[in-house]
């Protein structure tokens, strides 16, 4: 770039202008000089490989939760009396045609419950028959999001009376894969809704404390300290125990979310308060005040944009806490209750040692929890690192 520079100050050509030609050019020719905060953050975030992986996994998980009815092979509550603790089966994709050639179609070995005559232990043995499967076939009917009726599933048995268990079955012969996929919906949603509650509480209280200072700050900061020093699970348990058992599943879900969100807001309030405190005295905010910007504009145009990226990062790190909280509460029997299906509810069935020894695949929802929490943590860490691209 050849720019005409103030010719009235020839001495100015030293050092001062060295960067004016353009921003520091990056390897792939992006121009940072005209890049907004979000572009810079995205470029910084993209370099963080674990965070990108986390982002991908989180997106996939939420897609699964959104289209659970379609992705799950069966209705999560349908059961097969003969399928209790059925072990997981592998899907075979290549099959031999009757003429002996190879063809591509999914199938699993059909099994049958047999009792060993000597040890009297029951096991599922392959019968030698194949259960053929079909992509996008018709199966249990459902209403997607309670709105769109349908009966197509990603993978269904060709014979609607047959069943297959990619992740095994539980005690009652319900398909663990279908249940885990459906569990994702409530578990993941509780993270989002809980965070939304926390966000409102945290931003309002933290913002008030940080912006107003004085006794408001003292009261709010002390409350945060108090909540932080309470043991959460016992308090949640007591709160959840206080919910009347007669409430509907939906009401209970709402209140459990509320209870769970009691943990997240403190951290958010602390972040928002601290940032507000330091921002308030930053020169560029003082400059905005001196520019006669109205208070609303100072807060929303000048302060909040510096906060949002940090808030997004904190929120991302709060979601897994909520998910873990729901899981623990439901596991202990005081959170969500059947017939609601969440990962915590599912794991409650793995509570006693005998069940898990008979069916270690009951851990499947637990693995889902771990993956989710990990993905959110990686994502949140990456966002936090990228939150301030100006350092």
């Amino acid at each position: 770039m050849t720019e005409h520079l103030h010719d009235d100050t020839p001495a100015d050509t030293d050092g001062d202008e060295s960067m004016l030609a353009d921003g520091p050019p990056l390897a792939d020719g992006r121009n940072t000089a005209v890049a907004s905060q979000w572009q810079l953050m995205w470029w910084k975030f993209r370099r963080h490989r674990l965070a990108m992986a986390g982002l991908t996994v989180v997106v996939i998980l939420y897609l699964i939760a959104a289209f659970a009815e379609f992705l799950a092979p069966f209705d999560p509550n349908s059961y097969d009396r003969k399928g209790g603790f059925h072990p997981p089966q592998a899907v075979h994709l290549i099959d031999r045609t009757e003429e002996g050639g190879l063809t591509i179609r999914p199938w699993v070995w059909e099994t049958e419950l047999t009792r060993d005559p000597r040890t009297l232990v029951s096991t599922y043995q392959a019968t030698g028959e194949k259960t053929y499967l079909r992509w996008f076939g018709e199966g249990d009917s459902y209403e997607l999001w309670g709105l769109i009726p349908g009966n197509r599933h990603l993978l269904t048995p060709v014979d609607p009376d047959k069943r297959f268990y990619l992740l095994g079955a539980d005690r009652l012969g319900r398909d663990m894969l279908s249940r885990t996929i459906h569990g994702a919906r409530l578990s993941l949603l509780i993270g989002l809704i809980g965070v939304a509650f926390s966000l409102v509480l945290g931003i309002t209280l933290g913002g008030l404390a940080g912006y107003l200072g004085g006794w408001v700050d003292t009261v709010i900061s002390r409350s945060v300290e108090l909540v932080l020093s309470l043991p959460t699970i016992p308090i949640w348990l007591a709160l959840a125990a206080a919910l009347p058992a007669t409430w509907s599943t939906e009401t209970r879900y709402f209140f459990i979310t509320l209870i769970v969100s009691l943990v997240g807001w403190t951290e958010l309030a602390r972040v928002v308060r601290g940032r507000f405190m330091s921002l308030k005295n930053d020169d560029f905010v003082v400059a905005a005040v001196l520019d006669n910007a109205p208070q609303r504009r100072v807060i929303f145009r000048h302060m909040l944009p510096s906060l949002t990226s940090h808030i997004i990062a904190s929120v991302t790190l709060a979601v897994p806490l909520m998910i873990l909280a729901e899981t623990s509460l439901s596991f202990l029997g005081l959170g969500l209750m059947p017939p609601a299906i969440s990962w915590g509810v599912l794991l409650k069935e793995a509570q006693d040692v005998r069940s898990i020894v008979l069916g270690p695949w009951l851990f499947a929802p637990g693995v889902a929890v771990v993956i989710t929490v990990l993905a959110f943590n990686f994502l949140g860490d990456g966002l936090r690192d990228a939150a301030d691209p100006y350092n």
Partner: protein, 582 residues
Amino acid sequence: MLKTSVEDKVDARGDVILDIRDLATHFPMRNATVHAVDGVSLKLRRGKTTCVVGESGSGKSVTARSVLQIVDAPGRIVGGTIALRTGGGEVDIATLHPRSRAIRAIRGRDIAMIFQEPMSSLSPVHTIGNQIIESIRLHEKVTKAEARARAIELLAQVEIREPEKAIDQYTFEFSGGMRQRAMIAMALSCNPQVLIADEPTTALDVTTQAEILDLMRSLQEKHDMAIMFITHDMGVVAEIADDVVVMRHGKVVETGEVNEIFANPRHAYTRRLLESVVKLEQRAEIKRPEAEVLAEQTDPILSVKNVSVVFPLRGPKRKGPARGFRAVNDVSFDLRRGESLGIVGESGSGKTTLGRVLASVLSPSEGGIRFHENGGAGGDVGQLEGEALRNYRRQVRMVFQDPHGSLNPRMTVGQIVAEPLLNNGIARGDALRDRVYDLLEQVGLPAAVAERYPHAFSGGQRQRICIARAIALEPRVVICDEATSALDVSIRSQVLDLLIRLQERLDLSFVFIAHDIGVVRYFCDRVAVMRKGEIVEMGPASQVCDNPQHPYTKALISAVPHPDPTARSMHLRHRYEDAGVS
């Protein structure tokens, strides 16, 4: 490179103890390798001071750290030799492993180092004594009691009062100057033959700097040390150097004996560096003569009457009248129409607080400021509200010290400059855009920069953007709070010249707050000297700078080092004895 002739001369003039040749220290980064030090050669002589001078990023500090092999990761010495010649023979430090026993034996014993930040360079959770005693016992087999006695003696040597008490104190109980003295005591604990000082006085006030430089000189004489003094301040160089090494972009551009360098600089960069420093030694050439200006400027535009600012003290509240820290105490003066008034003072003098009151960031606790709008009488600034306050803020604008912090990184330059115009309903749409372009041009920036973000600009350019924002509303008064102190010397005068031209063009009055006497002398017509919240002296710039009356001003002015090695005057300076001076 200037070899043989100069080097031979250096050798001839004394006993070389440290001989650095073709030193290269590189920082391998993700995309490229930064050649922080790229073929540097220099020599240190016993009992002599070698100043390594350069602007930020010149590699002077990395050179110093390379000598002790304490370059921060991922930096590494990749070439050259560092020959240390002690009584025991010669060692090439560049070949030693940074973690080896051999280099550790040299650090602190043969070569000691002191750093810029006296606050963070000492551990906050260990006593001063603990850290000095440790230094002694690292290299000498003495008992704890003996080491302690030595430490007390060292503290006495660096003129710390009550060393027996000070030895058990923590750094946070010390002032900046005291910490730097403790640091020096620690460095001297094993009688090193070479002392490397990395900008040791940059963070200190001028009077404290003068005392630390005095101390180092007398200790050097006593111990016959070679000192390698890293600095960016040509005044300090002129005051203390025997030899000078000028660095730029990781390379030595010129070395020589101090008088030679100052009298007859050969390299263009050295010349420019000296010119920009010498330029700030007198009133700006582009300004009209002081007497002429003073005669014209008579009617006040801002009247400051008995202003005090009291900050409530933290901690347990005591009964009685509200007491607190008086940052500004009963200050009165007039700012005249069209003048540049300098307010100088050391840290803690209250000059910044006063500036914030003038800019209506803070309200005065007592007293008032009257703004004489277009000859008429305005209200007291402290009591202004609503439209009156908005009007005041349109007329009196501010330029901040930190060019990085005062621009919102999330707005483009165009948006930043447009902000005051928008908020005050001056312009919108195309008119706004044209006005922004016009303002940028006035501060010497092309219109095209409007769509860029502040992070794409250097410090000097950012300060120009700040100035554009300040003059956007055609104000009467601009408060500059240390507006040039974060900039390199060569940029400093450019920004000042810009302000002078704008003053002529826009009929502005400036309040220029600074700790640097040179900048004030260059830019201001009148000067007020502040100390502990009060104005101790006020008058025409030439009078205050050349013929100060108040003893504190005398001490302050005489402690300023001048870029003239033939007229070293700091040791003749006035001392202003008062409780609380470090």
